[in-house]
């Protein structure tokens, strides 16, 4: 009887072990939320943020310029898109910076 009990205990232990390993494997398959650049050096972070900021502005200028050529509304669309582009650049930087900071458990929840 004790032998039988032992066996079922053992089986339960292996099942539990399998369960934890399965969960770990499942967890590994899911994308991590903060899969970012938090291990990068400060130099890397700096160049990343600057590039994001400039890229938004640059695209704003380019899009505005092309639309101006297309509609013949020089220079109004370019001015508008420079503003939108700057906003996009700043938003890019905010997003990139958010990825850099590892999420704290007591962080205010962002949706």
């Amino acid at each position: 009887m004790t032998d039988n009990k032992n066996k079922s205990d053992q089986r339960k232990a292996t099942l539990d072990d399998l369960n934890t390993r399965l969960n770990a494997a499942r967890e590994a398959n899911r994308p991590k939320q903060q899969g970012g650049l938090n291990e990068a050096t400060t130099y890397g972070i700096a160049t990343r943020l600057v590039a994001e900021l400039i890229a938004g502005l640059l695209i704003g200028v380019l899009v505005g310029w092309y639309l101006d050529q297309f509609f013949g509304t020089k220079p109004w669309l370019m001015i508008l898109f420079i503003i939108i582009g700057s906003a996009a650049g700043i938003m890019n930087v905010m997003r990139a910076a958010k990825q850099l900071v590892p999420k704290q458990p007591h962080d205010e929840d962002d949706e």
Partner: protein, 249 residues
Amino acid sequence: MAGPLAQFEVHTIVPLQVAGYDISFTNSALYMGVTLITIMFFMIGGMRKVALVPGRWQSSVEMCYEFIAKMLGDTTGSEGRKYFPFIFSLFMFILAANLIGMVPWLHTFTFTSHIAVTFAMAFFVFMGVTIIGFITHGFKFLMFFVPHGAPWYLLIILIPIEIISYLSRPISLSVRLFANMVAGHTMLKVFGGFVVSLGALAGVMAAGSILPFAFIVALTGLELLVACLQAYVFAILTCLYLNDALHMH
């Protein structure tokens, strides 16, 4: 002595004209070939004798593989796994190119210091990711540009901002790699010039060239780090963009 920017010049090696287009074989193309051959040598040579207990060479190849596989799995989950070959080739290509560009004496050419090259890669990534997004989500992918929970009057401003922000991705991706490479190599060359010109001075003054020389040693270390880091950043941002296309936050 050549100026600090002379190292970025593209020379024609074999002139070639096809249908009015200049497609000459240049030193840039030569080093792309050298990079490919180096990667092939490294990968095939490492996996030639596949041992259960890997040797040094095999385990360095496996390390590269596992590094990218883990990065891709962490950022995109299991759906991203089928894009592994692309991300891996991209990472290895940029890494090898940056590192080959760091080889001294041989006047190696760093083709990642050209915006044409980096932008072509970034644009390819951008188009690919966008197409993947439309294939997986159909026209619902356009909802990616609509932020959740914003009132309708703000959407008029926010949607153009989101679109511009999305369009700026290839620019930021390419400019980052290109600017890092150009800045680092120019700085190395400038300080190299200081060593030569200070060393050419008479007498005790020549000892002054030790200072820029020491700086170069430190800078070379930093540049090696940047070469690896930028390849990593390019690859991980591609993964993040891929994740956006696959899962649409």
